[in-house]
């Protein structure tokens, strides 16, 4: 079996789920799949999905790595708020764009390293270690914005959220670019393999010479970096930093995307691509609900219902049942064949 079919087989459940969801939405909302060009940029609900998925997709890249190390990062929603607040403050004080971006990314990485210290050096369980920044982070962001929605008018920075390059909205470049860069870095080197080893058994990996502590630091730092990019997109999009609401609960969407993508929360083997498709599935559901015209009271139930179906189809129990049915059928045929032969 060559590389391509192996990849396809890994991604098949996620791709199928995405295709079915898009298909169902296009039945409910005609014109959903139409993509046209308007004002020199691509325009349509599918494009909306790709743009609106940007924050969760970015978080998902970092979250996949952290989960692969058998950790979890609950702080990224708050890191979005912090980095957004930092970016908005610097922009409104007139700093040049490269400085704003560099400082925001730096703050994101610093947040990640803080989590790294708690997890890798102090050996605090990741869910608790990152919970600290999840709670404190929003407070820090509110301190930076002084409790108000900090608005700014800067067309170059807000292009990060709502601009377009060659007809394609910039957030799409940002999340696909980041995912490609990190994916290549991880998979074209041994890093991904070493992260999996750390996630499966940190002690054994350390004994085998893997620098597990460094890898943990890197995973959380990358997670912080991704959150910083997401924070800038969210802030640029509404031309303001909303410390109370920016990135609120997005860490849970990111965890969900990783799980829908089939990566185990027990760490070890992971697929960034599958997680990203998971993020697209979640955003397709969100956008689908909006265009379909259901009353808002149904939003969460519809979302939960679809997720349950997707997860059930992937669950080990169902896979065993399917395997069993297949095996019995084959067995029947064999038995049948044997009877024919004896006759």
């Amino acid at each position: 079996m060559n590389w391509f079919t192996r990849r396809l087989r890994r991604l098949a459940p996620q791709l199928a789920a995405l295709a079915i969801i898009l298909g169902v939405i296009s039945l409910v909302a005609p014109g959903f799949l139409t993509v046209s060009v308007q004002n020199g940029r691509l325009y349509g609900s599918l494009i909306d999905i790709l743009v609106r998925a940007a924050p969760v997709a970015l978080l998902t890249v970092g979250m996949t790595l952290v989960i692969a190390t058998r950790g979890i990062d609950l702080s990224i929603g708050a890191v979005i708020a912090i980095c957004g607040a930092v970016a908005a403050t610097l922009i409104s004080e007139g700093y040049p764009l490269p400085v704003v971006i560099a400082v925001s990314l730096g703050v994101g990485i610093a947040c990640g390293l803080w989590n790294g210290v708690l997890v890798a050096v102090l050996d605090i369980q990741p869910i608790i270690a990152t919970l600290i920044l999840m709670v404190a982070g929003r407070g820090i962001a509110q301190l930076i914005t002084e409790g108000v929605i900090l608005t700014f008018n800067d067309d170059t920075f807000s292009a990060l959220g709502s601009g377009a390059l060659a007809g394609i909205p910039i957030p799409i470049y940002l999340w696909i670019g980041t995912a490609l860069a990190i994916g290549l870095l991880i998979r074209r080197t041994a890093l991904g393999f070493l992260i999996e080893a750390t996630g499966i058994n940190r002690r054994a990996a350390s004994l085998a010479g893997v620098r597990a502590r460094f890898l943990l630091f890197s995973a959380y730092a990358i997670s912080g970096l991704c959150a910083a990019i997401a924070g800038m997109i969210v802030t640029a999009d509404i031309r303001g930093a909303d410390a109370n609401n920016a990135g609120l609960w997005l860490e849970l969407d990111a965890i969900l995307a990783v799980v829908v993508g089939g990566t185990s929360l027990n760490g070890g083997r992971f697929s960034i691509t599958a997680s990203l498709i998971g993020a697209l599935i979640i955003q397709s559901i969100n956008t689908g609900i909006l265009v379909s015209g259901f009353p808002p009271e149904f939003n969460l139930i519809i979302k939960a219902g679809i997720i349950i179906v997707v997860l059930t189809l992937q669950s080990p129990a169902i896979v065993t049942v399917f395997g069993f049915i297949k095996a019995t059928r084959r067995g029947d045929k064999l038995n049948h064949g044997a009877k024919e032969a004896t006759r």
Binding site: D48, I238, L290
Partner: protein, 320 residues
Amino acid sequence: MKKALVAATAAAIFATLASGVSAKSLTVGFSQIGSESGWRAAETTLTKQQAEKRGITLKFADAQQKQENQIKAIRGFIAQGVDAILIAPVVSTGWDAVLKEAKEEKIPVILLDREIDSPKDLFLTAVTSDQVYEGKVAGEWLAKDVGSKDCKVVELQGTTGSSPAINRKKGFEEGIKAASNIKIVRSQTGDFTRTKGKEVMESFIKAEGGGKDICAVYAHNDDMAVGAIQAIKEAGLKPGTDIKIVSIDAVPDIFQAMAKGEANATVELTPNMAGPAFDALEAYLKDKKEPKKWIQTESKLYTQKDDPMKIYEAKKGLGY
């Protein structure tokens, strides 16, 4: 906590000093929920301003969203023997015991901005806005503005199930009931945030034929309206002219949009709840006149004609 303690002691010292200077000046304790939104911050600022204007000594306690902090603060106010207590209650239940303590000490209590489920004799009055009426004012403005033309409205609701979302929806529907030419074609929640307001509006525009069929947006708060305005601009339409924008709250940013002609009307949820409260309190203390149990604040309508830039400048400093 420490900070609150220091503030309370400082306030107590000030109070004794003040009472030494003039025996007549009132001392009022104010237990605020916290500073979770810009509106709340503006309410705090205005309460302090109103107190200063009337020569009232205000003792301020921030409860940081916790009822137990509020109860502690109220007990503190009672122990210090204040003349009256203002509470912006964080939840609607669980106030009976502490309010009885205040009543025994004959300290009148006034509720700001929200009501509670306690016997009516435990508090002097409640100063709140009428959320249904706010929606109605917005609806009536739209009905008058579009006249007899057909008008498809999309609605950006607040957080599903929250009382402002339910009441402002109900009120708007009442406001447009008489106008059969106005129809709400789509209604979704934008969670009271800019980001969600923008995202939902983007989808509405796509679902309603590129937005050309939409005549107006009704948003349950200004923040969602600001998000919707950006979505409309990015779809190549003109907010304020192609699609009318009407929302509620009257926060500073919507006046900026109105000054640019991108928003049409907003209904004010006034942060000045303390003004009417102090009025009622002073009347009560002067000649024991019991006020009504509910004082409704004004839900004022602002449009582009009201010199929005001037109002923006006036509101900017309030801490929104």
